[in-house]
């Protein structure tokens, strides 16, 4: 079994959740999100983020508005929608359940 592949699969599963978590609270633009995800080692290459952002937006979980920037062209600032917040809460619960389940299995050994 390929260890790297399994790790990548695990990360992949929670990546969308993490993106929503990062954006939740304050509007952010892509580079801010990248900083956050990179520092927590969730993503390796930046190109990963953009298809996900577009998909989350098209699914109605995210929305964006254009904002002027002091350096360079205007930027897209992303925000979590109400639907996105509901999704986030549900995902949060199942994440907690998952962590709890793993913990229990580990301790029972």
């Amino acid at each position: 079994m390929n260890l790297d592949n399994t790790k990548a699969q695990m990360r992949k599963g929670v990546l969308e959740y993490c993106i929503l978590l990062v954006i939740d609270g304050k509007p952010l633009y892509a580079s801010d999100i990248i900083e956050e995800l990179k520092s927590s080692k969730m993503i390796v290459v930046e190109g990963t983020l953009y298809p996900l952002l577009t998909r989350l937006k098209n699914d109605g979980l995210l929305t964006y508005k254009w904002e002027e920037s002091t350096q360079g062209p205007p930027r897209k600032y992303y925000e979590v929608t109400d639907d996105g917040r509901t999704f986030l809460n549900e995902m949060g619960e199942s994440w907690d359940e998952l962590v709890e389940a793993v913990r229990m299995i580990k301790e029972h050994k």
């Binding site: 930046e46 190109g47 577009t54």
Partner: protein
Amino acid sequence: MKKTFTINISGSIFHIDDDAFEKLQRYLHMLNRHFGVAEEGQEILQDIEARIAELFIEKTSNKVEVITDSMVDEVIARMGKPEDFMDAGDDECSTKTQPEGSLQDGDQKLRRRLYRDGESRVLGGVCSGMSAYFNMDVVILRVIFVLAFFLYGAALLVYIVLWIAVPKAKTTAQRLEMKGKEATVSNIQQSIKQEMTEVGENINRYKSSSASDGNTRRERFGDVVTSVFRVVLRVLVLIFGAVLILIGIGSLIGFVTSMAIGHSFMHDGPWSFGWDSNINMAGLLQQFISPAAYTVSLIAISILAGIPILLLLFVGTKLLFRYKTNNKLIGLGTFGLWLVALITLIVIGVNQVGNFGKQTSQTITQKVDCTKCKTLYLETTDDLYQSLIEDHISLDRMKIAMVNGKEKMLGHPQFTVEKSSTGEYLLLIKKRARGSSSEDAQKNVEQIEYNFSQKDSTLRFDPYYFLKDDAKWREQEVSMTLKVPEGKSVYLNNNLKDIIFDIENTENMWDGDMIGKTWIMTANGLALKDATLTIKK
């Protein structure tokens, strides 16, 4: 020393090295292929381009001004290649959008596509886009287009069709495609060769795959068949496209000349290429369509015939140059326009028929003052118009002649001889015309101009009657009857041949044979005066 390009990524200007430019171009093309042409894919691409621009701005902010090869490498490493992207979505989708061998393709320079260049545009960016595609100076193209606007209005239509049909280059990848590898014959050849090699590879793979694995073998065989099929199809499509363009250009030239310069339109139909006539479509229509409907019908005819021709050109260029378009919109739009033109023409046609509804005539009886003479000599004046008449166009009995560059409508009158009930020669001139009402028909009768003159015992007829300038053709006709009293004679000069019509005579002779002879009116009808003369002959 290195060559530098100036490029625009997501609204920011950068200077970039020659080799760095090539690398970036390949990378963006790869991404473009990965994400596909759908709206979603293009949005992702624009976002990524914005990020790339941002990274370049960071890198070029301190001292270094030109983007180098290593900077591009760094950025690509940061952004990652499509296969590095973790796609959390359904895997089917990602395999579908990433065609096999996209990396291979990424290694060659992009194939060129036709786009509109929105950044150096005057109107729609059609000319600037074409200049990029054909490697021509944009100024030359613009001058050609502007000249064409003034010479033929059709050029405007071509421009508008291109404006609608050719997509604007939005992303940097598209802008790079716009200036990509030229679609020259050798390049097309090359791309076909490449696909041929692919066929060869597939066949080899098929051979090498052992019979033990039935499934793979079958799949490989499928690969071979599809790749062979693809090459054949591509060649056929190219040939078909070229043929369409040739037919399209040919018809366009034929059509435009028939509208503007003129050829035998009525006789041979709009697709013939006869150049033997000086009259044009517009001039012809003017002769019988009322002024209000004239312009509308010209436009309608242009659209009716022009749209199929432009569609031919459009499909042909699309097959050859492979640009992307909104086919549904273009199809429906042009079909709608075409239908409107057809209905307009039908309505005008029905109205025109109404203009021929009533017929009226006007007869003038003139006494020919020749009581003493025994024989009346009949002849016509010289025919000055024969060489000016357009042989191919005739409206019933009338013809069109070009006199000093202006169309003039004329026709031969009909001349016949009958017995007079009085003791005198009488000339009856009957003018006829049609119109939407009796009054209108009467007005149209008055548009006829016809003259004859008498000198002693000679009657000289004009070989033609004319319509006054700006009069419309409404089946105007002129017929004349000369009443000859019994015992008196007429001499029919040879030059009467064009106007005599069905003169009854006791010899049952055809009109053409009656000329050049003297005829006497007897109780039984017109008889040859010197019968013995003809018998001798």
